[in-house]
Amino acid sequence: MKINLLRILVFVFAVFTLSIFLLSLNKVKVYDTQNLVGKNISSFELKSLDNEATINEESLKKNKYTLINFWASWCFPCRAEHKYLIKIKKNSKNLKILGINFKDKEKDAKKFLKEFQNPYYFLAKDYDGKTSINFGIYGIPESILIDENLMIIKKFIGPINNEDFNVIMKLTE
């Protein structure tokens, strides 16, 4: 009787442990930072790429919506999303795009914008990338849509595409 009870206990424990492993392994978990949606952006201050002007979170309160776009001239997907940023600039009345040039060379960034047009109302530089950590960025391109209260409405991880363009237009209309 004792040995049977022991066998049952071992069996139950093994099934329990295996079920946990199976459940965990079958759980698809693609990492992203969507948990930041609904929270406010942290304070920051960045210098302009063009002159000595600076920008901080307070100045973003003047815009109804701001799309903060992290990009670099060396980033290939940034080229793919650029046409959609231009499209957003042309079509949106309530939204302004803040460009944050990430770990780039000034000369290359300016050349990139000359070639593909400039969709940004302010172009800031983050040459050591430290400000990007404040925004929860882990790769570029990434874009953060915020409202006038500095609350994150949506995060776009990866290049913005036509579907994202439609979402942005709908959210900011």
Binding site: K2, I3, L6, L9, V10, F13, T17, I20, Y31, T33, N35, L36, K103, D128, G129, K130, S132, I133, N134, F135, G136, Y138, G139
Partner: protein, 125 residues
């Protein structure tokens, strides 16, 4: 007078190098516990990716600002979630992760003890 200055500078230099070594130790400890989010199974300490390099700069700055290990982890988990740290905080979602290994050891010990006792009894009989 010269002796006094020599001793003063010697103490100052020793204190500075001690604090530098302590900061370096803390930096490495933190880097090892941070997951490189864009790498395949690498910690920030092992990675040379852009993300890891940037994170190292941020951690270095935070230590210089006098932030504690806990404050740095809190800041990063607020931005990137629990996934960024290899050693997650104990909470109701991961209590099994913390307790299951101990539970297995205890349970295994009990099973072995009962089996050995049973074998011993059989031999005596």
């Amino acid at each position: 007078m010269f002796k006094f200055f020599f001793i003063y500078f010697y103490i100052l230099l020793s204190l500075q190098s001690f604090s530098f070594a302590e900061n370096k130790k803390l930096e490495n400890e933190i880097y090892k516990n941070l997951r490189c989010l864009v790498c395949q199974g690498q910690s920030v300490a092992d990675s040379n990716s852009d993300f890891a390099q940037t994170l190292k700069l941020v951690v270095k700055d935070k230590i210089k600002e006098g932030k504690s290990k806990k404050e740095i982890y809190d800041f990063l988990t607020k931005k990137y979630g629990e996934w960024i740290v290899y050693k997650p905080k104990f909470n109701r979602y991961n209590f099994l992760l913390w307790f299951l290994p101990y539970l297995t050891i205890v349970f295994g010990g009990i099973v072995i003890f009962i089996l050995l006792k049973k074998r011993k009894n059989q031999r005596t009989n």
